[in-house]
């Protein structure tokens, strides 16, 4: 097993355990414990699935790296357009936008759009 997979599995377990410990012994908000446990579980399960599926073949190669990089680039450009739109929305007072809302929108938009672009390029095979 490659080191990176071992580290990810251990990281998942540590995050999950910290969530369980915080829920059982510490006086923290329940939502924090739930987020920690879910995060740890997702990291652990995703890593285990990847490890199981990949067999002896590499998980990433030049094609997947290239397409992931293009996915991030396209996502960045689209986010730039979104920022411009949000700027004009704020400028003309078309909606009540707080810093929290804008950061939330950008955070989810960047993550989701990068993954959507990457998935689309993976289906296509390559980008020309």
């Amino acid at each position: 097993m490659e080191k990176i997979y071992r580290y990810k599995l251990v990281l998942g377990i540590i995050i999950m355990l910290s969530g369980i410990i915080s829920a059982a012994f510490l006086e923290v908000e329940a939502s924090i414990s739930i987020i920690l446990i879910s995060m740890g579980l997702v990291i652990f399960v995703m890593t285990a699935l990847r490890l199981f599926r990949r067999g002896e073949l590499p998980d990433r190669d030049e094609r997947t790296k290239k397409l992931a990089a293009y996915g991030i680039t396209y996502s960045w450009l689209l986010t730039l357009v979104l920022i411009m739109v949000l700027y004009w929305v704020e400028f003309f007072k078309l909606a009540e936008l707080t810093a929290e809302v804008i950061l939330g929108i950008l955070l989810f938009f960047m993550i989701i759009s990068a993954n959507v672009f990457r998935w689309y390029f993976m289906q296509k095979g390559d980008i020309e």
Partner: protein, 68 residues
Amino acid sequence: MKTRIKEFRARHDLTQEALAKIVGVRRETVVFLEKGKYNPSLKLAYRIARALDTTLDELFIFEDSDFE
């Protein structure tokens, strides 16, 4: 771009997975290479040619339209 990877792979009695393992890529990459949908790097193209005991010229067929 057209490739003769499938033909050469069959001659060497290799599966897509076996070829992927030899050249160090994912099986899906071999699938897209065979379909001519993915343009490999020179390094990968060379590795495939070597694995299939052939040359780049034999393996990859470029047409004028590929350069337009």
